[in-house]
Amino acid sequence: MSARADVLLWAQRVLGRKGATSWQILEIPAGSGADVAQEAFHKIARFAHPDLLRRTLPPDELELVTTAYARAAAAYQELRGGGRVSTTRMKPIRDAINPASPVATTTVIPTSPSSNRAVPADVPANPTQMMNGKALIYYRKAELALRRGELTAAVLQLKMAIASDPGSVFLRSALGEVEAEVSKKP
């Protein structure tokens, strides 16, 4: 059945492109706008939407096509305005410290200070929740400073935060990180 072969070939094309742009995934000219993206995605949906294939494809092939379709959907979403959201997104603290990070998409997963413990119930919630109010204000100021790239200002604010909440392991490790960044600077 040629329709089946066509859709499988399409899926392999989509999945085979590592690091492809949204335009490449949708197979439209680079720089195309939302209208072109919508037209392309509707065309894809007409032959590759998993609902249309659930009775004709075996499970493994259906999974392959579903994955390709799901990635095409993400590409379409980005081109029709989903990307607008990410440009206004606040950068995670890690990116601010180290803008020359080799992996552009790398961000930091927070770990609680006691994260080496094995029992999830023992792990404190969000560390910022554990801080007292005054420390939190200084901590937020430190974040702002980091986002502006003002490392020394951030160190000062973090020290103020620690003075307000001397018991916070989280703040101390944050200070350690920022100081390490300062020492790397020429």
Binding site: H42, R71, A73, G81, V108, I109, P110, T111, T128
Partner: protein
């Protein structure tokens, strides 16, 4: 050919239908009714009673009658709105495993999916009686803004009822499908769905057989129930004044007022005033009282104005989200019983500068769309089941199915393609208390996105990935979904470890999160168990640490 059932599982009422080549056929109750109350009673005399028969126990045994289960299904018991809604029911609900709500009735403990499964089973059996054939496959509709937990729980209810749930589809999408199927329309429509317990409004682009949801917004704690309660409280105050009894602590008395309020509300949709009395009020002390009432439509509108204004605010909001002007909308579909209220229709007309479409039957159109999708998925729409279509849908010529004369398009060639959307922004917690979005609200589903993250400390051997739902940049301002754990990671300098986090929302709108450690040589995966969702064998709670 297998027949598949389309089910609109509502807060107050449910409707089921099947699509045949000649039209849509509704599943009828014992008295020939198309609408089945979503009410389950466990009377003291024993057994389980469902539907209109169960409603009879509302007065005699209000504590044994479970209604509005849809308000709690798949919800986290600790959510503030759930706690608030629980004050409005007379049956007992406690927190169960995974923070899911559990109904306690005498010596029985039941999950919300179990309660809803009784409603689904009732419909399944009615359909089997009517069609004379066993049924297994079904498409069930859910509100567009139902979360993944609510969707998983609805699927679970279907499974418990012995149904193979082919697909969950959003109610407004189903309504649009019933409206536009086989019509080759090129237009943009709005679906305003104001039901018994939920409200949402969606903007759809119809492009031939493609039905694309552009945006959907809603409030799943706003519905006809709230309007009834506003009026019932007004009646309660009146009763307190006239009969010198405060009815609020008395369950049966309040239930009677709620039923009176519902009747008055419906009367006022067609009449300018309602006057009469609520009889047979069993007052404490053994007396039986009568409460006279007299209410104009204007007075009722004052009582509900706040709720109606909220729906209109959401409607304006969804048009901003879809980046469209009301003039681009060529039709406004009214779905759900609450859209019969003249005030609602009037305000809708003001926003869209056109009269909403009242030719469709707001109670039945969703089940009709579900039936069409069910027929499309199984291919059962091809040849007749031997049953004639019974003048199925009052859509005034909108759907060819209504006429029972037009042959459906060839299934393999022209099947409807539903592009439903992800109901909420999904993100993970990153350093500094922020969130990193992986999937946007209103993105088309199924959708998948993978991001690479790393560790924040040297020699970190364990990471926690907190997943949340919501728009806020601060993690704590969003709704937590659950946490994935990866442990026994290779001790590496911070930033060197690569962790892939993959979010996938399937075609049912259910979230699957996978985190894997790409560096340690032995890829480790963890899957998320969403809080409030039923604990299912398919996605076991904590499989973190299982090596693959």
């Amino acid at each position: 050919m297998a027949v598949a059932l389309g089910i609109d599982l509502g807060t107050t009422n449910s409707v089921a239908a099947i699509a045949t080549q000649t039209g849509v056929e509704f599943i009828l109750g014992a008295r020939g009714e198309r609408v089945h109350p979503s009410v389950v009673a466990f009377p003291n005399s024993g057994g389980v009673v469902v539907g209109s028969d169960a409603k009879r126990y509302r007065l005699s045994e209000p504590h044994n009658v479970i209604h509005s289960a849809k308000r709690f299904i798949g919800q986290n018991t600790r959510a503030p709105l759930v706690q608030l809604a629980l004050t409005g029911v007379r049956y007992t609900v406690v927190e169960g495993p995974n923070q899911q709500p559990i109904v306690v009735m005498r010596d029985r403990r039941m999950t919300m999916p179990e309660i809803s499964s009784h409603v689904l089973l009732h419909l399944k059996r009615a359909a089997e009686r009517q069609l004379g054939t066993p049924l297994k496959d079904a498409v069930i509709t859910v509100p567009a803004n139902f979360t993944d937990g609510q969707r998983q729980a609805t699927r679970e209810a279907g499974r418990l009822a012995g149904l193979e749930v082919l697909r969950l589809i959003n109610e407004p999408t189903a309504a649009a499908l019933a409206y536009g199927f086989g019509q080759d329309r090129e237009e943009m429509i709005a679906v305003f769905d104001f039901g018994g317990g939920t409200f949402d409004v969606s903007i759809l682009q119809l492009n031939g057989e493609v039905f694309e949801v552009l945006a959907s917004e809603g409030d799943f704690f706003l519905g006809g129930d709230d309007l009834d309660r506003a009026l019932a409280e007004n009646l309660a105050a009146e009763l307190h004044r006239v009969l010198r009894v405060d009815p609020r602590p008395h369950a049966a008395l309040m239930m009677k007022l709620m039923m009176g309020a519902e009747a008055i509300k419906m009367h006022l949709s067609d009449n300018e005033a309602a006057e009469g009395e609520i009889e047979g009020l069993d007052l404490p002390g053994g007396q039986v009282g009568t409460l006279p009432f007299s209410l104009t439509r204007g007075q009722f509108e004052e009582l509900i104005a706040g709720y109606v204004e909220r729906t209109m605010a959401v409607t304006r909001q969804v048009m901003i989200a879809a980046n469209i002007d009301p003039r681009m909308i060529s039709d406004v579909l009214c779905v759900g019983g609450s859209t019969r209220i003249p005030m609602v229709r009037r305000q809708l007309a003001e926003i869209f500068r056109r009269e909403p479409n009242i030719a469709i039957n707001p109670d039945e159109v969703v089940a009709q769309g579900a039936a069409i999708q069910a027929g499309s998925l199984t291919g059962g729409l091809t040849f007749g089941t031997g049953m004639g279509a019974r003048d199925a849908v009052a859509t005034a010529g909108h759907s060819p199915l209504a006429q029972g004369a037009v042959t459906l398009p060839e299934i393999t060639a022209r099947r409807p393609v539903l592009l439903d959307v992800n109901p909420a922004t999904l993100a993970i917690h990153t350093a500094g208390g922020f969130t990193e979005r992986l999937l946007d609200k209103n993105a088309p589903i199924p959708i998948e996105r993978t991001r690479v993250f790393t560790t924040s400390r040297d020699n970190q051997t364990r990471v926690e990935i907190d997943c949340c739902r919501g728009e806020a940049r601060r993690y704590t301002e969003n709704e937590p979904l659950g946490t994935l754990l990866l442990h026994d990671l290779a001790p590496l300098p911070r930033g060197d470890l690569k962790i892939e986090v993959q979010f996938r929302v399937d075609a049912d709108g259910i979230l699957h999160v996978k985190a894997s450690d790409q560096m340690s040589g032995q890829a480790q995966e963890a899957h998320l168990q969403v809080l409030g969702a039923p604990v299912s064998p398919e996605y076991p709670g904590d499989v973190s640490g299982s090596k693959r």
